[in-house]
């Protein structure tokens, strides 16, 4: 069982993907996940660059790089929110 990744708004357009399911190594974190996504190529590396402003949610709750990611989790990446 892996994890579901979701991408929203400008970040979705930058990576050209809105949703995918990927396998996951045990004991993973958001940080490890982001590291592997950055390795996919320039668009990914740019969209999820360390200095770039992006947010992450794990199971629909705001998360950070240190947040654990477990099989079955839903991890969403998106730009800073602009509602209201």
């Amino acid at each position: 069982m892996g994890v579901t990744l979701l991408y929203f708004a400008s970040l979705r357009e930058a990576v050209g993907l809105s949703r995918e399911d990927i396998p996951l190594e045990a004991g993973s974190t958001v940080s490890a996940l982001v590291e592997s996504l950055r390795g996919r190529g320039k668009a990914w590396n740019d969209a999820l660059a360390p200095g770039k402003s992006w947010r992450v949610a794990v199971n629909q709750q705001m998360a950070s790089l240190a947040t654990p990611v477990r099989p079955g989790d839903e991890v969403a990446f998106f730009p800073p929110v602009t509602g209201g």
Partner: protein
């Protein structure tokens, strides 16, 4: 405390929504509200329309969490948040926040708190249509500062 959160494409009737929060009650001494609307200009450009995207599985939960935080901070009777998604044009309503309490201080403060946190925590994104093309609205650092000041207090 009760809390109502709705995320919808349809418009809403501000007066009716706010009246429903107080109808038949005698404990409400104060009601504060905020309404956000689509402006026809942004960053000096004409805005013809905007489309609001959201993260459906997370949106209602994030808004409920913000209302719960407000209820933990102030003595409130009820909170209401209605936020629209989809394509909107200038003049359209985007968001309504209503707060009832016994006294005005709590209602004013909680209403502002909910909006400040909605602006920085609720997963909505605006895309504007301008004569130069469409563009995603950039988050403002002033919104982060507005939310951060509640932690200092």
């Amino acid at each position: 405390m009760a809390a109502t959160v709705r995320v919808q494409e349809a418009d809403f009737d501000t007066g009716r929504e706010l009246d429903a929060m107080t109808r038949g009650r005698t404990d409400v001494g104060a009601q504060a509200s905020f309404a956000g609307l689509v402006r026809a200009s942004s960053e000096g450009d004409e805005v013809k329309a905007m489309t609001l995207e959201h993260y459906p599985a997370m949106t209602a939960r994030a808004l409920e969490d913000i209302c719960a935080q407000a209820a933990a901070k102030w003595k409130l009777i009820d909170t209401l948040v209605i936020h629209r998604v989809g394509r909107l044009v200038p003049g359209d309503r985007i968001v309504l926040v209503g707060v009832t309490s016994a006294h005005r201080g709590e209602a004013f403060a909680a209403c502002e708190f909910i909006m400040d946190f909605l602006k920085t925590r609720a997963p909505f994104w605006k895309r504007e249509e301008t004569p130069q093309g469409t563009r995603w609205v950039e988050a403002r650092s002033s919104d982060d500062e507005a939310a951060a000041r509640w932690k200092a207090g």
